[in-house]
């Protein structure tokens, strides 16, 4: 395993990762700061209950969600959409950029002319992508734990761990899918486009399967459904999260096999 490729895979993006982490922490702080003004206003629950079911379902307002509680509020405001979106964009960008992007830019040629096996290069970059996703998720989790005592969010420590683990599982799956695709097919567009499309579709399937009955059988294919959608209130489905991570690992391994068979693209 070329550890140097793990190192450069992370190091070359440390500024970007720092910016992403600060951004996500800032966003969490902003949302959490709103909480005290919502806390203990039952009107909000009544308002949300008056929404059509399709909207409730899309916003991740599962049955029994109490938006005036800290965990319920953050589940709806952060974990139902914004945090997964931010992690996805970062993960897919990192996965597509680190191999397909480098190849497009012509910078992979010299690396692969070194005594490095291509599949090891892909796996090394897989570790680098995982590390970036984990840093971002740890930053998000740490932000919540630090803010909790100040804002009275009432978060359960183990649920915060579960929530960011679920987030990381989603991020890993899409990041590795992007990396695997970019290794199998020399195209950054494919490496970004397909995982983004997969994520959008899976998100809608998870959001709408309850109201659109024909989607129901497909829910098991959605990483969002597998992980579960109210992590701070009820934790996550750990087995589901494990399956999501393994599916990502399969995509990565597939890319590592297929990259050996093709020609390196000329910039």
């Amino acid at each position: 395993m070329p550890t140097e490729l793990v190192r450069t895979g992370i190091g070359d993006h440390r500024r970007g990762l720092l910016a992403w982490s600060l951004g996500i922490v800032g966003y969490i702080a902003l949302i959490a700061a709103i909480f005290p003004s919502i806390e203990g206003s039952p009107d909000f629950n009544q308002l949300l209950e008056s929404y059509p079911e399709v909207l409730r379902s899309l916003f991740g307002l599962s049955e029994g969600t109490d938006i005036t509680s800290g965990p319920g509020f953050l589940d709806v405001e952060l974990f139902s959409f914004m945090l997964p979106l931010l992690v996805l964009v970062q993960a897919i960008g990192a996965g597509a950029g680190t191999f397909a992007g480098e190849e497009d830019a012509g910078r992979l040629e010299l690396v692969l002319a070194y005594p490095v096996r291509r599949r090891d290069a892909v796996l090394a970059r897989g570790i680098a992508v995982a590390a970036q996703v984990l840093v971002l998720c740890v930053a998000a989790g740490a932000a919540m734990l630090v803010l909790d005592p100040f804002l009275g969010l009432g978060l359960a420590r183990e649920n915060v761990l579960a929530a960011v683990s679920g987030l990381a599982a989603i991020g890993l799956f899409h990041g590795w899918l992007a990396l695997g695709l970019g290794a199998a097919v020399p195209s950054r567009a494919v490496a970004i486009g397909i995982p983004a499309g997969v994520a959008a579709t899976a998100y809608l399937v998870n959001g709408l399967h309850a109201v659109a009955g024909w989607l129901d059988p497909f829910r098991v294919l959605s990483p969002f459904w597998l992980v579960g959608s109210s992590p701070l209130q009820t934790g996550i489905d750990w087995l589901g999260a494990l399956i999501v991570v393994l599916a990502g690992a399969v995509a990565l391994a597939g890319g590592a096999v297929l990259v050996e068979r093709r020609d390196l693209r000329t910039p």
Partner: protein
């Protein structure tokens, strides 16, 4: 054990997707300890050959061995012994040359740090500024250092002196010669004869994906193109001369005709001339630059 050549390509062909035949049945042997010049016009297949040596692209047919190691099956072992400078060198933006070379050294694993620093000093590498701020020539120096820094058995250079000033070009030539003198092998690809003729022991000429000639620089010079100047004492059908195989009429000034003719056509040409009254006849070898221009011209004609 007999001497295994540094490079042995056997009936190597490469057809890219889309049907472009970049290389056709190319067989080539580069011996240890020589500087081998690989000459051809742009698009002739030089870079494709190099990418096959490094297993960056896979051959459609045939195979390459590097010191007996199969370029695909034993690719990692083969590349351990190669230093490579790409023709289109792309470096990352942010790291400095010092950071980047340190990173490549760790990736390589077997770098002679003293050698690396000595090369940096010799070529005057700017070590402490981000690579994106460096000029093309200064980036090229970084590429050269990484190609030589592990004292490779085989150095593969694609247009190595592009962007370098004449002084540095001479320095790079010196490094190549030293490498060969220490038993290393240099595969030097170029479209510029000037770059190759002072450095290479042997030259391979490629055009349209085929190896058309392999010889020493001196050998090519002596058996190749002649400039022939004939002054006639009677009227002559110049077109008839131009129809002789390989002969090209360059100019006609009154009774004097200038021709380019390969050595192989001299006999037929002289016999044709003998049918006329010849006042004067001068034949002299063309310089190398012209020989190659002639070879390239034929390449264009062949397509």
């Amino acid at each position: 054990m007999g001497e295994v050549p540094a490079i042995e390509a056997v009936e190597l062909s490469k057809t890219y997707r889309g049907g472009v035949r970049a290389l056709v049945d190319l067989s080539l042997r580069v011996e240890r300890g020589e500087v081998f010049g690989y000459l051809g016009p742009n698009g002739a297949g030089k870079t494709t050959t190099i990418r096959l040596l490094l297993d960056l692209v896979h051959p459609t047919a045939g195979h390459v061995r590097i010191f007996g190691l199969h370029s695909r099956a034993d690719g990692v072992e083969a590349r351990r012994r190669i230093g490579y400078l790409p023709g289109d060198l792309r470096l990352p933006d942010r790291p400095t040359a010092a950071e980047y070379l340190a990173s490549l050294s760790r990736l390589r694993g077997t770098v002679d740090v003293t050698r690396r620093d000595e090369l940096c000093e010799r070529l005057g590498v700017v070590l402490d500024r981000p690579l994106r701020q460096l000029s093309k020539g200064n980036r090229q120096k970084v590429g050269l250092v990484q190609a030589f820094m592990h004292r490779p058995d085989l150095v593969v250079l694609d247009e190595p002196t592009a962007g370098l000033d004449p002084l540095l070009q001479a320095e790079v030539r010196a490094v190549m010669r030293e490498t060969a003198a220490e038993g290393g092998t240099v595969f030097l690809s170029s479209h510029s004869l000037d770059e190759v003729q002072h450095t290479a022991d042997r030259v391979g000429v490629i055009r349209s994906g085929r190896l058309v000639d392999v010889d020493t620089v001196e050998g090519l010079r002596t058996r190749s193109l002649r400039h022939v100047r004939v002054t006639f004492g009677d009227s002559v059908d110049v077109d008839a001369l131009g129809r002789l195989d390989g002969v090209r009429v360059v100019a006609r000034e009154g009774a004097t005709v200038r021709l380019n003719a390969p050595e192989t056509a001299m006999d037929a040409l002289v016999k044709e001339l003998a049918r006329h009254t010849v006042v004067d006849l001068v034949s002299e070898p063309a310089d190398l630059e012209e020989i190659f221009l002639e070879l390239y011209r034929e390449a264009d004609g062949a397509d």
